[in-house]
Structures are given as C-alpha cells and as structure tokens.
Symmetry: C2
Subunit: 397 residues, 2 copies
C-alpha cells in the first residue's frame, strides 16, 4: 500500500486492484487453460469487413473522421441504431440515442447521472462485477433483489428494497455472471413494478444478439413503451463486431439522454469520430444479418462442448450449472461448504485451469456467497475445453 | 428545465448545457465567421499517413487491434512516449505512462483521483473551461492563483490559497484561453513552491508541440525530477495528429499511475486498441519530426494574419491582446466597462462573427470578469480572418 504526502479522494483511497484484473494476469500464463476471461472469440471478428470500413472512411471522409465531433455521437450511426430498433418495433428517434465509448462508459455515466455519496442502488444478486466497480466510484450503498434459477424475481423487489433507491440495474439476457435469461412474464412484471415505484430501470444488454437457442424476447425498454416507467437501455458493438473498438450506445428518454450528453462532454468530450464512422460503415448495409448467425453458431458449438464436458466429468459432484440460451457464460453452484475463492489458487497451480469465483459478483459484501464460479465457453478450443473441465472436476472430487 | 419523477445525482441536477457547446452550435451557421472553435486545423491532419497506419494495423495485427486490451494502454505506444520523453531528458519508464481517451478523460480521472465533495482545487484565473467542467462533476470548491501578462504568478500561491487544496492545475504552454507561456524562472518557482506545500501539480500540455516561436522550455514534470514535488503531466495526440482519434496520455509517478489505472478500468475499461495501435504505427518511425514543422508553420502564418488584422482594425479601441508563441488562441482584454458575454449575440447577429467570451474561464463565479474574449486563429482562412476581425472591431467602436 503506497502512502502519499497529499490527499486522494475517498474513492481513490479505497480503490483496490480488481479481482478480474488479477485473474486476467493469471490467464496470460500459456500453461493455464482459462475459462476466466470475458473476451469474445476473435474467431468471430469480421476482420476484412472492418479493414475495409476503416479504409473507406479514411478515403472518403478523412477530415470528419479525424476532427472533433458532437458529444451525442456520429449522427448516421445513431440513425442506424434507431432503424435497427424500429425494425423490432421499438419506437425511438435519434434524440433517444447516445453513442458511448463501450458499455463500461455507459455504466460510468449512469453512476454520474444517479449516484450521490450514500445513494441506494438496487442490483440483482449476483450482478455484473464491472457494473459494481463502476458504481462504487460514486459511493453508493447497495440493496439486492433476489434471483432464482429463472433470474431476477420481480416480486422480490419489495417496497423496502426500492425505498429511496436511485435505480435498479439488470441484465435480462444471458446474464453476466449466471447466463440466465429473464422470461417474458418476469420482464413485464419487472417493468410494471418499477413503473409503479417510479424506479428507473437500467437494462444492460451486451449479449442480446448472441442468442443461439429459442426466440428473442422483447427488451425492457421496449416493454416500457407499453407498460410505462423509465428504462435506460445499454447496448454495445463489442460482442457483435469487436470490443477493441470500444463502441456502445445508450437508448433512453430524450431528457435523460440530454443529461447524459452533458456528463459525457465533461468525461471525454466524445467517442472517437473515426471509430464510430468505421462501425457505421461496417453495419450500414445489413452486414450483421449475415455475420451474426456465424457468431451464434460458433458460440452454440462452444457452449455445447462445455456442457458435454461438464456432464461427463462432474458426475457424482454436488453441483448444478446453468444452460444458457446465448451469451458467453455458464454458472456453477456447489454446496455451501465449497469456497471457490479459496480454491482458485489450487485450480491454477495444481490443475492448470482458471475460472472466476462467484463471490465478487454479489453486491452485499457483508453476506458473502462463496459456492459459485463462472466459466466462459467462448475462446477456448474444443480439446482444451474437455481437458480443462476434466481437470477442474478433479479439484472438486 | 425537465423534471423527473425520480431523483438524479446532485451533479446531474445542477449540470447545464455548456457555454462552449452552445457557441459551437452558432459556429455551424455558414454565414458566421467563427473564431470561437477550439478545433485544430484539418489542413494539418496527416490523412494519408493515418489511412496507411490503420490499414497496416488491420492487415498485420487485426486480432489484437479488435480485442480487449490492457487498461494501461498499448505497450508499444507507452514505450514510444517513454522514448520521446527520454529524448528530451525526462527520465521515465513505461510504468509512468497511462494512455487515455483524449486529454478530457485525463481531467475526468484527475477529478476522480483527487476530488471529494467540497475539496478545494486551485486553478489559474482564467483557466481552461473544459477542465472546470470536468472537475465540477465531483463537487469541488475553487481557489484561484493570480495571473499577469506572463501567466501564473508563483508568489501568488499563498499558504492560504494552498491550504487543504487537493491540487493545482496549470497550462504552462500557450495557455487556453490566454495563449500565454510561463517562463523558465516561473516554472522553477512554481514547481519548488508546490513541492514545499506537498501540493500535487497537474501540468496540462496539449499545445506544447505547437510552438512556432522561440525555444521550447522544460515542462513542469521534467523540472520536478530536479526540484522535487509531485507533477502529473497530461499530453495528447489531438493537436499533433488528429483529435478525432481521442488519444492522450498521462505521465506521473508510478503509484499515481497505478491508482489512475484502477479508476480508468471502472470508467471505460481501456482506450480502443485499434486506435492506439494506429497512432503508434503512425508515429513510431519519427513521422512527427517531419510532420510537426508543417503544422507549426501553418499555425504561425495563421497567427500572423490575425495579429496583423488586429493591429489594422483595433486602433483607437481600448484593448490589449496577447502575442502567443504557439498554440491556437489569442486573448483580448478590454476596459472593464465592456461585457463580452452580453455583446456576443450582437457580434453574431450584426457582425456575423463569433468568439468565446472570457467569463466562463474564470473559476470564481462570484467574482465575474467580463472584459475578455478568446479568439482561435487556426481554422479560418486568411481572407475571412481579415473580414472577421474588421467586423469585430466595428462592434467595439
């Protein structure tokens, strides 16, 4: 712990290196099979399409691409988002869309928009670790809405939990970390309940396009147009094109977008013009409708390998796991005597396999839950999935 | 003013649309000659070099360019910054360098690092408006260190002003808004004084490479290696390559960088991999040593046109202006009866010319200073500079 001869902010003084970060370091060791990453598969990157997109932008519009741009984002890209959502029956205009520097920036702006020191924030339990870290910057307290094997339980959002809360943050599709998807009935119930409570609902949907089983369900923002309430929806090109471009977007009521634009201006002025233009160039002619089925097929295959390997190797171990219909993650639940945080060093050292322990995904630090772990099925090749899962099983036997 | 049926954070409730933003809207009117922008000249963008750089990156390293990357930044780019500073006698390693999404993000991270609600921040008076807006997000109070025609007055940094302050933020080269440059004597005095006070010194240097007159002076970070104290230096590729890429960097003691990395991770995970790689590809073989002289020559010429036009047209008006030796801006000071904020609508409507009034650059809102204005000399062509300045003079006659 470094000490300074001057004062830092409270947030900086209490910030610690993240668990995910430390784990990602481990996963760089070539002898370790890592299911810990949250990285999409580079096999799914449309390299040639994006190479061409950059070249087209730099050949046709270099002086716009290289100049400062509006904080709201590159207008044709915002219009593309509008038309993409209109095609799914969501009624929005360009004033409902803000382009951001990846979904993580949307989380930062949500924190800035809503959280004062001590404000209450409601999360699913467990919830996305990156969101918890982002919100932590603004000093909130957390309340947790319970989840079961079908995800968030809308009836669990009691008056007491919601009281004075600034917002509820949820991932309805293939949730990170659990891989669970909220069914339509619960989505409607959740939107109605939040509307009734005047509780803004943050819908994070980075994986929605990665559904490889079953039918797409309407999003919470779409349902709010029917059932009322305020929903702020976060979307991303990280999983459908490539994360290294850091392009995401927020869809929200116009007055909310206007506030977020003010905050984003103070945060980074605007997202890189050239990158927004390259994304637009890549997607504008319907490329995703040919590209996404390939990514979905790849992820479905990968998920299948891991489920098979779990069936084969985890017989006789007291454990259940989720069967995601999309996304990137599986979630294992052991009996409560197991502590996956404590076991991680042994998994890495003895079995040469890495996972993310479940504990940091739980927002209430005073009630630690230690018997879960998260596995990513997307980047590891089939043979290593089988070896890695077999090795992991040895640890729990 | 929109009202919501839920609560926003204090920062969001009090945020208002920025003066700069409203002005930039005006400048989009084709009939207005705008000296209000802070945009670098697109004539200086190395379009072909950057087009090739993107193409090389996407041809040679597409899967790194499109994947998530480390929060600290693309290592070869950080190493390039190290070698660039070593060549000027500044002794740093890669652990002293963080890549950020433009200098504005560095300001956001500085605010996150240091400012709690009510913390005192010391600024030059006047100071950069974008910094004030960024720091405002975290609820500071401001103290102002006086400036004169040579810039910040180090002796003006009294014990009282510095007491309990979290940092002092300064732009030593071609300051925004005044265009003034701090001389070596004052730089040394400032670094020594801050070291004595244990007051971290933030050195913002977006324009340092745009010196078109006189010799470069050592930066505050460099001087801190000789005279002690903690300096955090912000640099940017916006003015030497292109702002639309949003790539900047921070140089600071290793322990400070480590804290900023934690904060950046929660803020946007990392800056776009592909963009960092394209910047590296463009600069790695010494391109800037051939490119920058052209930009400096262009800016020098532009500055000359404006100074000539001011001499010609502002005779007989009670006004002084700065003679910058680099950067983008000139600063006019009228007698105290003039209110440039009130005159702006008339400038635009009657004279078809736009400037930025000086008032919002002053950090102490309770002591408004209204008799200054800022002019950018870089983007307007020579004939329009002459017409615009002649029209502006009519307003003040």
């Amino acid at each position: 712990m470094t000490t300074f001869n001057f004062s830092l902010s409270k947030r900086a003084s209490t910030a610690t290196s993240s668990v995910i970060r430390e784990i990602l370091k481990v996963t760089e060791r070539p002898d370790v099979i890592s299911f810990a990453g949250g990285l999409p598969s580079p096999e799914g990157f449309p390299v040639e399409k994006l190479r061409q997109a950059y070249d087209t932008v730099m050949s046709n519009h270099p002086k716009v691409a290289l100049q400062y741009g509006p904080t709201e984002g590159y207008r044709p890209l915002r219009e593309w988002v509008v038309s993409d959502f209109k095609a799914r029956g969501v009624d929005i205009t360009v004033d409902n869309v803000l382009v951001v520097s990846g979904s993580q920036q949307a989380l930062d702006l949500i924190g800035k928009l809503f959280i004062d020191e001590g404000s209450k924030v409601v999360l699913e339990s467990p919830s996305y670790l990156g969101a918890i870290q982002s919100f932590n910057q603004f000093g909130p307290t957390y309340a947790a809405v319970p989840t079961d094997e079908l995800g968030l339980v809308p009836e669990g959002l009691t008056d007491e939990i919601a009281k004075d809360a600034r917002f509820l943050y949820a991932l309805p599709n293939f949730q990170n970390p659990t891989g669970r998807t909220l069914n339509l009935e619960r989505r409607i119930a959740l939107v109605k309940r939040c509307a009734e409570l005047n509780l803004p609902l943050i819908e994070d949907d980075p994986y929605g396009e990665l559904r490889f089983e079953g039918e797409a369900l309407p999003g919470l923002f779409a349902l709010s147009q029917q059932y009322g309430g305020t929903v702020i929806r976060m979307g991303s090109f990280s999983k459908v094109l490539a994360p290294g471009m850091r392009i995401g977007f927020v869809i929200a009521p116009e007055a909310i977008i206007a506030k977020m634009v003010q905050l984003k201006q103070a945060t980074d002025l605007h997202t890189a013009s050239i990158t927004q233009m390259a994304v637009y160039e890549a997607v504008k002619d319907g490329f995703l409708t040919e590209h996404l089925p390939k990514v979905r097929e790849l992820y479905k295959r990968q998920c299948g390998y891991m489920l098979e390997a779990l069936e084969e190797n985890f017989k006789g171990i007291d454990v259940t796991w989720t069967h995601p219909s999309g996304g990137m993650f599986l979630w294992l639940t052991f009996n409560e005597s197991i502590n996956t945080t404590e076991l991680l060093p042994r998994a890495v050292d003895e079995q040469k396999v890495a996972y993310v322990p479940g504990q940091p995904f739980y927002p209430l630090a005073d009630k630690p839950v230690t018997n879960n772990l998260r596995l990513s099925f997307v980047t590891v090749p089939e043979d290593k999935i089988r070896t890695g899962i077999a090795n992991l099983a040895k640890l729990f036997k």
